[in-house]
């Protein structure tokens, strides 16, 4: 009897060993060099169409705790001057005092404070943290999903997430009034981290 349990458990260890050997826990740096990351945004234009743009330069890292995923964390720093909406005059305006005021506030930052896992879907979580934008720090919630993780073909280990949130421009002191259909902007953050 005892022997049979020992054999069975040895067998189960053998079968699950490759998975247990690496559960993905660790600290990851964003793959900025390979550009496997993007922060896109969309905002309504007059209520008639979506205007999409992106922030080209940002960096960050996250830690992932497979045993206790809610103990994971993430920080992101964004260069707001890297805003890119494929229209030079508009980008210049977005960097000005009317919007991001990048001369005065050259860095935007997000630091997670806690993570609330989704009860129904183990791959989804609310990442709650402080976003500093245009000198204003506010708590925001990122609706995040882990897309996958594992070894890459070049000897590294990668993990990727996508997250969404919606910000109200005036909450961050952005004074420009674009009309009632354009009071908020939706952000889509897609990152791939390489384990350090």
């Amino acid at each position: 009897m005892l022997k049979r349990i020992a054999v069975a458990s040895a067998l189960s260890v053998a079968i699950s060993a490759p998975l247990q050997a690496d559960d993905g826990s660790g600290t990851y740096a964003f793959d900025t060099k390979g550009q496997h990351q993007s922060i896109n945004f969309k905002i309504s234009h007059l209520g008639y169409s979506w205007l999409y743009g992106r922030f080209n330069d940002f960096d960050g890292e996250f830690t992932y705790d497979a045993e206790n995923p809610s103990e994971s964390s993430v920080t992101v720093t964004i260069d707001p001057a890297s805003v890119d909406s494929a229209h030079a005059e508009r980008d210049k305006h977005l960097r000005s005092e009317d919007f991001l005021y990048v001369d005065e506030y050259p860095e935007a930052r997000f630091e997670s404070t806690r993570i609330e896992l989704d009860d129904d879907n183990p791959k989804e979580a609310d990442i709650i943290g402080n976003l500093t934008l245009r000198g204003v720090t506010r708590e925001v919630t990122l609706d995040a999903e882990m897309l996958g993780h594992g070894e890459d073909p070049w000897g590294g280990y990668r993990m990727g997430f996508e997250a969404e949130t919606e910000l109200t421009l005036s909450n961050f002191g952005i004074p420009m009034d674009l009309g009632k259909a354009s009071r908020t902007v939706e952000l889509f953050i897609s990152v791939e981290g390489i384990r350090q």
Binding site: A81, H87, A88, E89, D91, K92, R95, M176, D177, L178
Partner: protein, 184 residues
């Protein structure tokens, strides 16, 4: 009034270009200063920059024409009554105004074409981008445009004060001959 300049006075082409460009430069400065603070729903929000860009391109064309004409028909020399300091100062101010107006025009063009798009001059013709997309060019070109246009206005004030001084204090022909008036 003859078309060309003589050794005594300005012809109507030079005088006309001078006053036209003076009005356009001041007008563009005012328009630019006013339009950047328009609210998004203002009727002029897209129209004012369109006029500013279009007139700016035409101003560069007028300045090129002015340089060509200056070469074809040199302006009259300074009045004999002007001191050496006055001649040197006026010469420097005139040269600098030419350079700054070109710099203002070119940097204005570089702001709008930094994404590789052309500039529509009214609904008449399009000036294409020569640089193609250059990331962040709109920022440095914008800063230069801002400060250079202020410098033009400051220098134009000094230039105008000089002309008024010659007219009122020295009571010479400096301003009169640019206005096409006969010697008094």
């Amino acid at each position: 009034m003859p078309a060309g300049n003589t050794t005594e006075r300005y012809g109507w082409v030079s005088a006309g270009l001078h006053w036209l460009i003076a009005i356009v430069v001041v007008g563009l400065f005012w328009l630019g200063w006013w339009m950047v603070d328009l609210s998004y729903y203002d009727d002029w929000y897209t129209l004012a920059p369109h006029i500013h860009r279009s007139v700016g391109i035409l101003l560069i064309a007028a300045m090129i024409l002015r340089l060509l004409w200056r070469w074809l028909s040199p302006p009259p020399p300074a009045l004999a009554s002007h001191s050496r300091f006055e001649r040197a100062a006026a010469h420097m101010a005139h040269g600098l105004l030419y350079v700054l107006i070109f710099v203002a025009g070119i940097t204005g063009y570089l702001i709008s074409t930094a994404d590789g798009s052309g500039i529509d001059v009214f609904d008449w013709f399009t000036v294409p981008s020569v640089t193609g997309e250059v990331k962040r060019m709109e920022d440095w070109a914008g800063s230069v445009h801002y400060w250079v246009t202020w410098a033009i206005i400051a220098l134009a004030v000094v230039h105008a004060l000089g002309a008024v001084k010659h007219h009122v204090v020295d009571r010479d022909e400096t301003l009169r001959r640019m206005l096409g008036l006969r010697p008094r």
